[in-house]
Symmetry: none
Subunit: 407 residues, 2 copies
């Protein structure tokens, strides 16, 4: 019997409310350069501090020891799916983020316009980061002329800037396929290849994408700087048991950026649109309090400033989150987990493998007697240093959603 | 997709340098009798202390909870192989340590002379610990007379004291086989049996070893105290992916004792010969700095004195290591891990299951703000209490050898 089916058998639906509050890339490292402080330690966080006293803490290994995850695997882990088993293509995530409802067997690719020289070599992988409007125009041209390739329906949707998404539907296809992006300038557009060369559905998908290029590139001829395009993260939608089936909870996603909405939708959460900042996100949780059991709130800026290596701005992003937190605490959900989807240490200016700190508050969590939510305190918390995928089970346990196992 | 293949896919070869510094049997336990101090705590270690401030710490479970490993599994774990999956016979390790190049399908056994009475019962399992010279003489007699058994070539090589190694080659054999050592005096030499009784190659190996005894024992008749011999750890060389293939690093072994050289060679490290003490070992790292990416340095004496229950001598062995450390730190490899292969608590006078402390230093490790490297401090480090096999992946991550996983 798998652990998942044991959890499933023990699950009681009790209407408890829980909130997963993700400060993207929250975790950081203490170094000599920052006087051995992390942004969490440097930040002024009275509301987190108050919560800390009555919380359990620990650290979450996002995917596996030493592995630096992208946002996809990072969030899938927090949602309770093993990110090493559930591989989701970036194309699928982007498509979901743009509000495209994918069907089983759809192949989705993340695409972006690029510049090609007269020898068909890529001179700018992002076409000078053209404006969204120009991207929309180009996509309209492609959509107008290319409706089908072989027996696959082709759906093209513009995103922000130079980005767009292409879906190939209804031809019994499978991914994943290699990128057509050569990943450096001065090289031609690469030919996509099935990752599993024995898979007939993938081979067909690669053939269709080859034909798509033959049809599309002539339409863009002379349209510098966006006279070509590259495709990445080409894959089909994975078959994932959705949130309500797996956890017996109705889940809402309160995110601002498309990628996180896409990820949440992939596991069956309802996207809430039109939110602008963390105060609105928390406010919306309160408004929708009776409609869902699980609220996923995503705060992007900790990651963004971590990527910039901007310690002060990351610290400020944490303080903004902290300042808005009382809006949510007015209702005080039964269980609150606060964490990151991975670490984005300022010193590394990028995602990292360091386990992210996690705080778990409920009436049943017990107190670890740690008076602030910091990486160092989390090292000695009662949750231990565990894989992120276990968090949701601890949240459910704290919500008293599990019956006793065995007599 | 296995975790190993994910790591493999993400690996970037970047020439970063790393050092695994093993103080054998380092871990210890604090007891009332030692005023609740461990040797690491009692030792004066200014250089380890200085490194501690900028390091991450944790503890390593050598094989599995509660399992006390030998040096083989202990080191295989540190080298990133699951010691519960990769079983390496002691005979193979000894043979490698003696510089015998094993071929695929070779069966190697660790042997030692013993004393037999007139009823062929073992009266001394180590033949009064005869001198190496006598061992060499006896081995020469056996080698001279026994070149083949059935279709297997027989190779006999003397070791230190009463120990020797026997290899059976070229007859399509397999192990592992049970020991012929009865493990107590007063019993006859045991008949070896295949561990897997359905394996024809192992059955044949058992038959060949039986015939080898029939040929060899008469040659030793009357040669008391070494008129018999016992065999242990009878097995074939396992098929292990080597270090360069698995980790994309050239690895050097800087050990003094044959066993550790053998283990390192088994996973494809290059043995560096002629080293006498820890200063020379560190010095050699510096000399070979450009030739390898991974340096395995083995310090034996912590274990040896732990086995003796000699707290002061174990403490001194740690201090000797600490005093020599600056030789290596002159180059400051990008990543330094300092740990044991298991614990050898003085109070237990032997190996134990207690997780060994580990210190991981790099520019990217972050600081756990622990000012000394001790068992107790390691309990609250950011690495957590994890299986030893994960260490090398954390070292690679700290060396920035892994690409991001997923988008």
């Amino acid at each position: 019997m798998s652990v998942d089916s044991i959890y499933s058998d023990l699950t009681l639906k009790n209407g408890a409310k829980m909130a997963l509050l993700v400060m993207d890339g929250l975790g950081d490292i203490a170094t000599k350069d920052t006087d051995y402080k992390t942004p969490l330690e440097a930040a002024n966080t009275p509301n987190l501090d108050a919560l800390s006293k009555d919380s359990a803490m620990g650290r979450l290994i996002p995917a596996a020891h030493g592995i630096t995850p992208g946002s996809g695997p990072g969030h899938l882990g927090l949602f309770g799916y093993d990110p090493l088993e559930v591989e989701v293509g970036r194309g699928v995530i982007e498509a979901l983020g743009l509000g495209i409802k994918l069907e089983p067997g759809d192949i989705a690719a993340r695409a972006n316009f690029c510049s090609l020289d007269t020898n068909a070599l890529v001179t700018d992988r992002r076409a000078g980061r053209i404006e969204t409007e120009l991207c929309e125009e180009r996509c309209a041209i492609l959509s107008e002329k290319i409706k089908r390739i072989m027996d696959a329906e082709v759906i093209i949707r513009p995103g922000k800037g130079h980005r767009f998404v292409v879906i190939f539907r209804g031809a019994d296809l499978a991914g994943p396929l290699s990128d057509t992006d050569p990943h450096r300038e001065g090289f031609p557009i690469a030919e996509t290849q099935p990752e599993n060369s024995n898979c007939d559905k993938s081979k067909k998908a690669a053939q269709i994408i080859g034909e798509f290029y033959k049809a599309a590139l002539p339409l863009l001829q002379g349209m510098e700087p966006a006279n070509g395009f590259l495709m990445r993260g080409i894959a089909h939608q994975p078959d994932i048991p959705t949130f309500d089936v797996r956890y017996s909870m109705r889940a809402a996603c309160l995110a601002i950026y498309p990628m996180y909405k896409g990820l949440a939708q992939l596991v069956g959460m309802t996207k809430i649109e039109g939110l602008q900042d963390i105060s609105e996100q928390f406010q919306k949780c309160i408004e929708l309090y009776n409609d869902y059991e699980y609220f996923f709130v995503h705060h992007k800026y900790t990651d963004m400033y971590g990527e910039d290596g901007n310690f002060e701005a990351k610290t400020k992003a944490i303080e903004d989150f902290d300042a808005a937190l009382p809006i949510l605490l007015e209702k005080k959900p039964d269980v609150i987990a606060i964490t990151g989807d991975h670490s984005t240490p300022c010193a590394l200016k990028g995602h990292s493998w360091h386990p992210q700190p996690v705080l778990l508050y409920s009436a049943n969590s017990g107190s670890d007697k740690l008076d602030r939510f910091t990486e160092t305190n989390c090292n000695s918390g009662s949750l231990g240093i565990i894989e992120a995928k276990h968090l949701i089970r601890l949240m459910q346990a704290n919500a008293l959603m599990f019956d006793k196992f065995g007599a």
